[in-house]
Symmetry: C2
Subunit: 352 residues, 2 copies
């Protein structure tokens, strides 16, 4: 009874808070989850012969598991009314990308859950809790292969991040309308971890794993960002059967063959770019143009594709890390509305 | 109103489920969180000069952040009645250790939250979402230092895990009373990721970060396992001021100086070991004896220390991965009861 009383009390608090709810001020309200957990998608055994730990220690022979993808999920009550959303981070980052922002606000992971979606955060294969294949590094240590065989580990600097993430025209000088919380840039830099994607086979196992996850979920929206921005499409080219929509945020779009465009034209597609694309050196202006061309190709093939330019919609100053920007929940609302309209209404229409 | 109605409906479901609640069958009930999120503890800037990505690419000069510790937390309603618990994983693993078990049951992270504790999961510095310092590997690639300077990356095999984690006398043959869900061993192997602790300075930055986290939380219980089993004590030797209890699970205990024992004797200490310590080759029997000596030294110095041998308490067949064993919630109950009695009652007594 004590437990039941506590639950009722907790609900009354939530109800009371709901009464004075303001848009986007949900951080102080209790979060109710139907379930949560973590698991892996994919992975295969590999026989290794590692150098021992410490001088003179014996080498280790046996099997290890590689190419698995770690996934963490939360499911709110009522989630079955919506498609689950799979979020995959970019270069030199982990799923931390989608969580609490560098200045301590709610991330998209929790916001989407509060909007009644199941959210699946995946660490890319070779990053963070997914682990990586250390075979090459260990083989160089034993002298079996030369140092030049070592992978290019991308270790992005603060200076690189400031420029590529479009925080401002020069290091530590933000754009006047910058939406990234630059006062907390040091907290973003802590999220930046070495990128070992150079150790991966081709095609990238993350693509197959994302496609398999969508099948496992019996239909999902795939979302990628930056390095993983085109991973939803790459996943669909591996196996489109579970993918109900693709959301690609800020990346270069590669040239595709007509049959690839035809496959992707069957999946509602949203491409999102922020602001200041031409105001920093680098790839952004060309990336936007290349993705505009991709969107036009999908449309020409009969697909439902949208190029969402945030400044064109009146949202100014968004950085490359727009899921962490000060207006991140406003951007999320645009994406949620797009999912509702383009992926879920269509689902209802198909079910008729 | 629709939102309020949904919340009340959700609570009625929870209340209905509570009525037929059975011990340890809580996985199907909604989970209510007052808050959740993630952040970093520690971290410092380092100037690097990395090789460029791809042939002919320019090198990257600038600053990166190293030695930061990623922490993910969940706080249930009523958590202020209890001490928060910080859980740190062992070798070749990540915080996944504490989450959904390999066979899909509830992990300690959620169980402790359901027992009204705030839980903080920390990825060790140099592992998973905390990232690592790739400077040495990159310097070998450029030829600045020899291959022998590469770190010993521990890449534990399935065979090593089976033996060290005490799943059975020989590979793929479990003990008759084995508590680890060996049918799901492949899912455990996916959790095992390369261990780069050999890249860390001494003292290990995780110790300082755990101590700092305890201060930041205004008092916490620190829990470590295996490689990190003695990290709670090592943290206390860095700064004991925030640490309200230490829980050390299955590790070797080092020899300490009398003044170190005196520091640790001020903190309630629980050491936990499972079963079959003498039934596999390796360190476990000696580790138990060394830790028994440590516990006795703490007691002799006036401290409150307990050596908890699960088989001595009637729990048979527990593996090294006891937080994932089939009776993992029974083991958790023993630890929760110890916290209540030794760390929290004392807190109440002090407050009088």
């Amino acid at each position: 009874m004590k437990r039941i009383a506590a639950l009722i009390a907790a609900t009354l608090i939530v109800v009371a808070l709901s009464a004075k709810e303001k848009k986007h001020e949900t951080a102080q309200q209790s979060l109710v989850l139907a379930s949560q957990g973590s698991f892996f998608v994919g992975g295969e055994s590999k026989t290794i012969n590692s150098p021992g730990r410490g001088p003179g220690a014996p080498s280790t022979q046996g099997e290890v598991t590689i190419n698995q993808m770690y996934v963490q999920y939360q499911t709110p009550p009522g989630a079955s009314q919506h498609l689950p959303v799979v979020m995959v981070h970019g270069c030199c980052l982990s799923s931390k990308t989608w969580e609490t922002t560098p200045d301590g606000r709610m991330g998209w992971n929790e916001y989407f859950v509060r909007k009644s979606r199941s959210v699946y955060l995946a660490d890319q294969v070779s990053r963070a809790r997914s682990g990586f294949d250390p075979t090459t590094i260990n083989a160089v240590k034993t002298g079996a292969i030369p140092p030049s065989a070592l992978p290019n580990i991308i270790d992005a600097t603060h200076q690189t991040a400031w420029a590529i993430f479009r925080f401002g025209p020069t290091y530590n000088k933000p754009f006047p309308d910058e939406q990234f919380p630059v006062e907390a840039a040091d907290e973003l830099y802590k999220q930046m971890i070495p990128d070992l994607n150079a150790t991966l086979p081709n095609p990238n196992p993350t693509w197959k794993n994302m496609a398999a996850l969508a099948v496992q979920l019996k239909g999902a929206v795939l979302m990628g960002h930056s390095e993983s921005g085109f991973f939803p499409e790459q996943s669909a080219l591996q196996d489109p059967s579970g993918i109900k929509a693709n959301i690609s945020i800020e990346m270069p779009c590669p040239e595709l063959k007509p049959e690839q465009i035809a496959t992707l034209a069957k999946i509602p597609t949203l491409v999102v770019f922020g602001d200041h694309l031409s105001d920093v050196p680098g790839i952004w202006s060309a990336a936007f143009d290349g993705c505009k061309k991709f969107v036009d190709q999908v449309k020409a093939a009969g697909g439902d594709a949208e190029m969402m330019s945030l400044p064109a919609l009146g949202l100014k100053g968004n950085s490359h890390m727009l899921m962490q920007d000060k207006n991140n929940l406003q951007v999320a609302d645009l994406i949620l509305a797009w999912i509702d309209q383009h992926a879920e209404n269509k689902k209802i229409a198909r079910a008729k």
